[in-house]
Symmetry: C2
């Protein structure tokens, strides 16, 4: 009970990563930000049926973990933009692997072109996605 945050359950990097990412919503939120160019609260909330209090909580945790940053939108004072940091961008490979696996075994709705590149042209696709995700940082 001492520290403000819970202790990691172990020092295995997979288990530690899952302390942050291992729930039903966090990686869906990051998918929106990193692959979907959805960066405002309402854009993310609209996409799948995440409850707004859960979304608030996930965004705060990701900010505290240094994976996202929150910025005001200069064009609309009500709006905030959630943008990836460097460590956030480096979660793109995790999402790509999940996408490839999920497409093969759970669903088949990835555009064929994207999927083909994820498998056959992985490095170039990653570079492109990182660029695209980084560009809209403002």
């Amino acid at each position: 009970m001492p520290s403000g945050k819970d202790m990691p359950r172990s020092n295995c990097p997979i288990a530690c990563a899952l302390d942050l990412l291992g729930d039903r919503w966090t990686l869906v939120v990051l998918r929106d930000v990193l692959l979907g160019q959805r960066r405002t609260f309402s854009e993310i909330a609209a996409d799948e049926g995440i409850a707004t209090n859960t979304l608030t909580d996930r965004l705060e945790r990701l900010i505290e973990a240094g994976v996202l940053e929150r910025r005001r939108d200069p064009r609309d004072g009500r709006s905030r933009r959630y943008v990836p940091t460097e460590s956030g961008l480096e979660l793109i490979p995790v999402l790509i692997e999940l996408m490839v696996w999920g497409n093969k075994y759970m669903s088949r709705t990835v555009p064929a072109e994207l999927l083909a590149r994820a498998v056959g042209d992985r490095d170039a696709l990653l570079a492109e996605l990182v660029e695209r995700a980084r560009d809209s940082d403002d």
Copy 2:
């Protein structure tokens, strides 16, 4: 209420994959089976502090999803071995990417050799891990 299991929240492959994998324990269990050669209930239960009822539930879900199979141990009738299927083996890349990211940003306990290969020699490491995971299938 038609199907025995809940409907997927969407047909996005990432969201669908997370319907199965997106919780605190499922990927830790798969880490034990796929990377750690831990294949019995008690080996997996001992490793981190997972509750036994949760472990039972996760193993059942993974079997139902076709990611693991349960087999009796011919040497000990009490014991069961949880072994990966083909689709289970193909989750190794997801675990590797999580490990690389977790090591960089959340923890630093991966053996340097393994980590170096995960980054610089990815394809050969994957092939080797798949082989090793497959070998002990019996």
